[in-house]
């Protein structure tokens, strides 16, 4: 089975700015994949190249085996992209826009049942005949997602779909997207909301300065990079040097240690005991993607600068 998305050695520079610096990534069919990274990491540039909106300086991308430059018609037919900007066409209503969008992809009246399903699934059914201009921001966002789905693409890319979207819509939207994923559609999303990626996605890629700095299943990333966090309230003390490497942060006498395995708790505690430092309070926390993200982004920016 061809991968849903295959990215090989993608470079992109805008003048002297190197936006993408050799990105390789394979996303299998049926995956729910998250692409994370701070602003300017190159996520949107990568998606724009995938969508054919930007041309790569080097490298190639294919969608279900079709090159997005040389076989762009087949590639785009299989791809639905939700743009990040909240754009709309002020001349038409929601249903007209969806019909046009499906029509551009060669789909006609036989597609109307699917359009109804999208309208229903995204809570737009009662707005179908409302002009795009008159929709609220949240409704415009739903319409934008609906437009990307209008031709029923097997590969769906959502670029920051939940930026500025309220909780109710997020739940509705993810419910519908999860259903599509369950039915076999490949979903790729970029997001700033790490908890979203953590609960929805089976695999995560993290980008930093135009490169992928981590790529693994969500579970592995959580285990490998962050493990657990030990927060000790010690007061103002001099830490033994042998546990400095585990220290993540320190604030007002509260020291946070990042632990890769549970045996390190004993190491920290015994070192403190030897140094005759008294533990006032102790907490052990599960790490989340935010910790992974911070440790990776912090780590690589430290090694670069």
């Amino acid at each position: 089975m061809k991968p849903a998305i295959q990215i090989n050695g993608i470079h992109k520079s805008f003048g002297s700015l190197q936006a993408l610096n050799g990105v390789d990534l394979t996303i299998a069919q049926g995956e729910f994949f998250a692409l994370l990274g701070p602003n300017g990491a190159g996520k949107s540039t990568l998606i724009s190249i995938l969508a054919g909106l930007i041309k790569p300086s080097a490298g190639d991308i294919s969608v279900m085996g079709f090159d997005v430059v040389n076989q762009y018609q087949q590639a785009r037919q299989l791809l639905g992209v939700v743009p990040q900007e909240l754009v709309f066409d002020p001349f038409f209503n929601v249903r007209e826009m969806l019909r046009f969008q499906a029509g551009y992809f060669g789909r006609g009246p036989e597609n109307d049942a699917w359009v109804d399903e999208i309208l229903e699934g995204l809570g737009l059914a009662d707005k179908a005949h409302v002009n795009m201009r008159k929709l609220s921001g949240g409704m415009k966002r739903r319409a934008l997602i609906a437009q990307a789905l209008a031709h029923k693409p097997p590969v769906i890319v959502l670029d920051e779909p939940t930026a500025g979207v309220d909780v109710e819509l997020r739940q509705l939207m993810w419910g519908f997207i999860k259903k599509l994923n369950y039915e076999g559609h490949t979903i790729v999303l970029t997001t700033h909301y790490l908890e979203e990626a953590e609960t929805l996605c089976s695999r995560v890629g993290m980008m930093k300065q135009g490169e992928i700095v981590a790529l693994d299943s969500t579970a592995n990333l959580l285990n490998k990079f962050a493990g657990k966090q030990l927060r000790l309230t010690l007061g103002n003390v001099d830490l033994p040097t042998n546990i400095h490497s585990l220290l993540r942060s320190q604030e007002n006498g509260v020291y946070t240690f990042a632990l890769n395995d549970m045996a390190q708790i004993e190491l920290v505690l015994s070192s403190l005991r030897t140094a005759e430092i008294k533990v006032i309070d102790m907490q052990l926390n599960e790490a989340d993607l935010e910790d992974v993200f911070m440790s990776l982004v912090g780590m690589s920016s430290g090694s670069r600068s």
Partner: protein, 262 residues
Amino acid sequence: MINNSNLIPNSFRGPWTLLKKELLRFWRVAFQTVAAPVITALLYLLIFSHALESHVHVYDGVPYTSFLVPGLIMMSVLQNAFANSSSSLIQSKVMGNLVFVLLTPLTHLQFFIAFLFAAIIRGLVVGLGIYLVAMWFVDIHVTNFWMVFAFALLGSALLGTFGIIAGIWADRFDQMAAFQNFIIMPLSFLSGVFYSIHSLPPFWQKLSQLNPFFYMIDGFRYGFFGKGDVSPLISLSIVGASFLVLAMITLKMLKSGYKLRA
């Protein structure tokens, strides 16, 4: 592959949908895109014919008001064909919704054809509107329908194509306004809409012959009166060649993704 529901082959449905959207876009605001230019042309007709009817001599046996009508029709056809493709593109670019078309499998040729035909149809609808209203006031007959049709078609195609170039090139509304005010308006007013270039001093006659609008107006007018300032076949060749050159430039721009795909 034929779709049974309405017999439009699927490979045509993409460009057909884009054309339909472009047609609806101007038809939804027909008051502004069709009625307004018809009114403007009729105002020109009323004022200029009143002021100049007894002062200006053009062709023997052709009253000035009758002479004026084909020029005004053609000027409106050209201006509206340009306005249709250029304003649609600049609006979609500024609003950002052009991305909906750029994400589709439509080829650059299909994109061009859809915008071109929408511009032609807008131009022809406006031209027909002016003709239908003017024929109530002015004694005017088409003597060579095919000549009228050929110039209206090629002229609106030429300006529709030029509008696509302007729409792709311009990034802001003021740049588009500059196109309108510094290129389209002077070329259309100095093309012999309101006079026969034979009435001009030799230098201005020569200069007028460098203006492609002159050939479109003159050839179109030939279809009404059977006479013009130059041979209609020369005009047709110049207009046709200009269209082909602009169409090739436009297709090259679209294929390269100039200003549309970074």
